[in-house]
Every structure is written in C-alpha cells, then in structure tokens.
C-alpha cells in the first residue's frame, strides 16, 4: 500500500487538489482572488513535492508504471501548470467559473500524468481521453464568443475522430498480437501489413495530438479561438505530455518497427516544419501565429525523435522544458495585451517597446528562444535536437531542418521588428502588470537565459533518462 502512495504520488496530489477545489466550490466558494492565490500555492507545493519521495516501479499488473524519467517529466509539467497559474492571473481573476476551470485543467493534467505512466493500451486510451475532453470544454470558456465555441467544437470533433482512428488501430493491434500490454507488445511485433496498418492508426493519434502535418489542421483554429490560457495549456502542457509519451512509446514499445517509424517521422517532420513555417509567415493574429510556429517546433521535436536514442529522449525532454518557459512567456505577454486592450494582431504590436519595455524584452527573449538564437536556452534545445537527429547520419534531413530554422527566424523577426522598430501612432498603452504575472514573466525570462547556460540542467536530464 505504501508503494501505491509513493508511485502514484503525482496523480494523487493532483487528485487531492481537485477534490479540495471541489470541496471549496460546493461548500461556500471563495472570491476569485483568494481562490487563485490558494491554487497558486497548491500548485507550487505540488511542484516542490514532486522532487521528494519518488520511486520506480509498477502497479496494477503493469497497467501503471513509473520511473525517474517519468517523474521528471511530470515535474516539468507541474512547473508549467504553476507558471500558467501565475502568468494569467488577470484573466483568472475575471473568470466567472474559476474553480471549474481549474478542475477541468487539472483533470486534463491528471489524464496526461496517467498517460505518461500508462503501461497498457487501455490505460493509455482512457488517460488520453481524460486529457482531451476537458480541454475541449475549456476551449469554450469564453462562452459568449463565437470563435471560442467554434474552437471547442472543432477540437472535440477532431479529437473524437482521431480517437476513433486510434481505437481502430488498437483493435487491429489487439487482433494481431492479442495483448494490450506495453511490456508484452514488442516481442509480438513482426511488421506484418496488419500490424503496420494498426501502427499507422496509432501513430496518427499521437501525430494528431502533437499537431504533426497533415494532422495539424485543428491546431491553428483551436489556438486562435480559445482563451489564451487554454491555448498556452494546449501548446505547452498538452503538447509536452504527448511528446513524452510518444517518445517512450516509440522507443520502447514499437522498437521492432523502428525502420518504419523512422521513415515516417522523417517525412512527417520535414512536412511539419515546412508547412508550419510557411503558414506562420503570413499570420496576423498572434495566437494563430504562435500556433503555427509551435507546429514548426513540433517538426524539430520529431527530428530529435528520429534519433532513437537516449540522447534523443533527453534532448526532447530538455527542449520541452525550455519550450515551456519560452512559449509560456510569449503567451503570457500576448495574453496581457489581449486581455487589457483586446489587441491580438501583429500590427497592433508595433511600437510596443515605446510603452511596455518589459513586455517587449520578455517577448523578444521568448521569441529568440523559440527561434533558437543564443544565448537563450532555445538555442541549446534546438541544437541538441538536431544533434540527436544527426546521430543517424541523415545529414540532408538535418540540412532541411537548418533551412527551416532560417525561415522560422524570418517570422520571429517580424514580430521583433514590429515591437522594436516599427513606428506607430497609437501603440498599445502602458499596461500595469500585476505582481504575480510579473514574477511569472521574470522567472520565465530567467529560465530562458539560464537553462541553456547552466549546462548541468541538461546533464541532469540526461542522467535521469539513463
């Protein structure tokens, strides 16, 4: 029984918070301010607690498994959650159903945690759905906005469709191998046509969640329509979680099919980077822009994934960790501006530096990090991904990735240019940032600069993965 508590500690903590929130909600409720502070504290505790009393092992007949790497991944996501609770303080305070929103978000997170720990396709499916469905509801949280509903309906329909395909794949896989267990699966994989079909169906479900081209179409629309919080949750936490699962599933469970998925990932990665970049070039809406840019980022994650090595895994975890900092910082800024002024267009950002230097610097740092410009951490993250990808000796692939880095630089610079260089008669007025958000932004900026330069971060991740 003791084992149960230590192994499942992250999930149990989340569940505890969930129930606490539920209890508060049904008892009397708290004012948004208080509630939010309470949640922030809880999430901080949750994050800190993640470092203690960890163990490795399996539960429920290998249905649930955990190890140091998974714990680390969960901690990274916890950290992301904490940041979200800080960065979007203003939005949360205005939110009508704050506790419900957090309950949804936390249950999605819970789903992701289970997904990461799942040792069985059934478990995986259940947790995947748990991680998806609440997000669809969250997307609709700007209840009176049509785009929000549109985003939600697109999200739920697309993901339902994709889970249909996933299930179809799982059923075929079950038919072909007779097992749903991750531990038993590899020995039974023979790359027969049926298994390949099944695998492709499974693969596409991951690809869909990670918004790999051509399964990415929902991403931009959902990101644009949803509240910024949801967008950032989707693009950071959700994407990170699925990337973690994707890596470990491919590397461990589907190792026998390596030849196939290597090629698949290569092709899809190139497409993802290209399409993501080409679309991002033209975007006017900052959220949509970040959506496409995050699609392009996924392409880079896939490059790292193609390495099929622990270094690849480590660099993906590292990258996601950096990505959380940089993307959340960018979304944090975007949210502040959109919340206070309702402006979401790149053109509205013109002359931002004149009025909001802090926001501008944070935005610039995060965009540079996303573009992979030193000395930000993104540089290291991206370079390690490419480096991991290069271990296979496929340098043309790396070359294409490098070219895409340049295209992506072009559109990141577009924002930088708007913020720092372009003149504007009516720039965004000075925004007074509340202390919580400010702390969040500072932490993110510090993270963006330091994670890369403090090389032990990567070494730590690498040691955990090993």
């Amino acid at each position: 029984m003791n084992e149960f508590f230590t192994l499942m500690k992250p999930e149990l903590l989340i569940m505890a918070i969930l129930f606490l929130l539920l209890f508060i909600k049904i008892s009397k409720g708290l004012a948004n301010d208080k509630l939010l502070q309470f949640i922030q504290v809880l999430l901080l505790i949750n994050f800190v607690a993640g470092f203690f009393l960890n163990a490795e092992g399996k539960l429920f007949d290998s249905m649930y498994q955990t190890n140091a790497m998974i714990v680390l991944q969960k901690n990274i996501l916890n950290l992301g959650m904490f940041f979200i609770s800080l960065l979007f303080t203003d939005w949360f305070r205005k939110c009508e159903h704050l506790s419900e929103f957090f309950m949804l978000m936390l249950s999605a997170l819970l789903g992701m945690f289970y997904m990461m720990s799942s040792g069985n396709l059934l478990m995986f499916y259940l947790s995947l759905e748990l991680a998806t469905i609440p997000v669809a509801a969250m997307s609709n949280f700007n209840l009176d906005k049509k785009v929000s509903s549109e985003a939600a309906i697109k999200m739920i329909l697309s993901s339902a469709f994709s889970s249909g395909i996933l299930l179809f794949g799982i059923s075929l896989l079950y038919g072909a191998t007779g097992t749903l267990s991750f531990t038993e699966m590899p020995a039974l994989l023979t790359s027969s046509p049926l298994q390949i079909l099944a695998f492709v169906c499974l693969f596409t479900a991951f690809a869909f969640k990670m918004s790999v081209v051509p399964f990415h179409f929902w991403t931009a629309d959902v990101y644009e329509g949803s509240p910024v919080v949801v967008t950032s949750f989707l693009s950071v936490i959700s994407k990170g979680a699925i990337a973690f699962v994707f890596v470990s599933t491919l590397f461990k469970v589907f190792q026998p099919l390596h030849d196939i998925w290597y090629n698949m990932i290569m092709v899809l990665s190139v497409m993802t980077m290209l399409i993501g970049n080409l679309f991002a070039l033209r975007q006017q809406n900052i959220k949509r822009f970040l959506a496409f840019s995050s699609i392009a980022q996924v392409g880079f994650i896939l490059v790292g994934m193609s390495s099929n090595s622990t270094q690849g895994t480590a660099s993906i975890i590292y990258f996601i960790c950096i990505y959380i900092f940089s993307n959340l910082a960018a979304f944090g800024v975007a949210d502040l501006i959109s919340f206070f002024t309702g402006k979401e267009n790149v053109d509205d950002y013109k002359g931002l530096y004149q009025t909001n230097p802090l926001l501008s610097w944070v935005l610039a740092l995060s965009l540079f990090s996303l573009a992979g410009i030193p000395p930000t951490a993104g540089f290291f993250g991206k370079l390690f991904l490419l480096s991991a990808g290069a271990t296979t000796g496929n340098y043309i692939f790396i070359g294409i990735a490098a070219v895409n880095m340049i295209i992506s630089l072009y559109y990141y610079l577009r924002i930088i240019r708007a913020v720092f260089m372009d003149k504007n008669e009516t720039p965004v007025e000075k925004i007074s940032i509340n202390p919580y958000t400010k702390i969040g932004l500072y932490i993110c900026s510090a993270g963006i600069v330091l994670i890369g330069l403090l090389s032990w971060v990567y070494d730590y991740i690498e040691s955990v993965v090993n």
Partner: protein, 103 residues
C-alpha cells in the same frame, strides 16, 4: 452458417467507413457526433470479434469495449454541451457555421 471472424470484421469495417463517410458529409453537428459513435461501435465490434475468435483466453477486448462505450458517452456529453452553447448563441447546429477561423 455460423458467422465467423471475417464476417464480423467485414461488418465492423463497413460500419467504420459508414461512420467516416457520415462524419465527412453530414452538415449537422449532432449527425457528425452520431457518425463518430458508429466508428467507435465498429471498433467495439472488432474488439469483441477478436476476443471471441482469436484471443478467447483473454478478456482484454471485452473490457476495452466497455470502456470505449463509457468514454464515448463522456465525449458525447461534452460535445453536446458545446453544441448547445453554440446553438444558444447562434441558433444553428450546422457545421458550416464553424468556418470563421481559417487560413
């Protein structure tokens, strides 16, 4: 003639594609949801068929089916909630209403 594995698989495949077809062509959001249910059901049929004819010693397939049904219900609940919100605000459940964001 006793129906065998292939019959069932055929039916489930047919069901799957009917579902897909419905999802792709229906204009009504509810109808699209129903099409997804068809897909899920075809999967369920698959599981049961495999469980019965191929892996009769294991019960994984059956369990999976039950969970799929449950999840489908949850999914439908959220989806319908969203649709209701959409209808409430815009008096339409046409999928073509949701094409504002593009390019």
């Amino acid at each position: 003639m006793e129906p065998g594995l292939y019959h069932l698989l055929f039916i489930s495949a047919a069901l799957f594609f009917i579902g897909v077809y419905g999802f792709l062509t229906r204009r009504n959001l509810i109808a699209m949801l129903m099409s997804i249910e068809l897909i899920l059901n075809s999967v369920n049929l698959n599981f049961i068929a495999f469980n019965k004819y191929v892996w009769a010693d294991k019960l994984d397939g059956l369990f999976f089916t039950i969970f799929v049904i449950a999840i489908a219900a949850a999914e439908a609940a959220v989806a319908i909630a969203i649709i209701i919100n959409l209808t409430k605000n815009f008096q339409s459940i046409d999928v073509e209403e949701t094409e504002e964001m593009k390019y």
